[in-house]
Symmetry: C2
């Protein structure tokens, strides 16, 4: 099965959501991407329609923004 991808930026809202998602889906089923550390992936994230983190992109390409930690624009700074 194609993995889900969880994008975050290390914020407390992000960490909390990450724990929930990993528990729900299992570590093996989700790739974790820290956009604060992997800034080259910010553009990819935006092209998927991501507006803020934390966010989960499902294997079918669905974008689920989870609560609200930070906007993508803030991560560029």
């Amino acid at each position: 099965m194609k993995k889900s991808v969880f994008y975050h930026a290390g914020c407390s809202v992000c960490v909390s959501a990450e724990n929930e998602i990993v528990e729900l889906l299992g570590t093996d089923n989700v790739e974790i991407v820290h956009l604060g550390e992997e800034k080259t992936r910010i553009q990819d994230a935006e092209s998927l329609g991501i507006k803020s983190v934390p966010v989960l992109v499902t294997p079918s390409g669905g974008v689920l923004h989870l609560n609200f930690g930070a906007s993508i624009d803030e991560l560029r700074a």
Copy 2:
């Protein structure tokens, strides 16, 4: 395993998120609650910290607001 609970109100954002969540977790692992039709559960939802729908409450009690469809206040109307 205790089930996750997905609360929604029938809006298009809700339906889209519901499809993603059911695909991710499996139908058997998530209870679907339509707060527009089960208004008696709005108060329970609020006591869990729910501010808007669609939202997923994990078995451990974590609240993940998914994108944004409608606020809880709007559902009372």
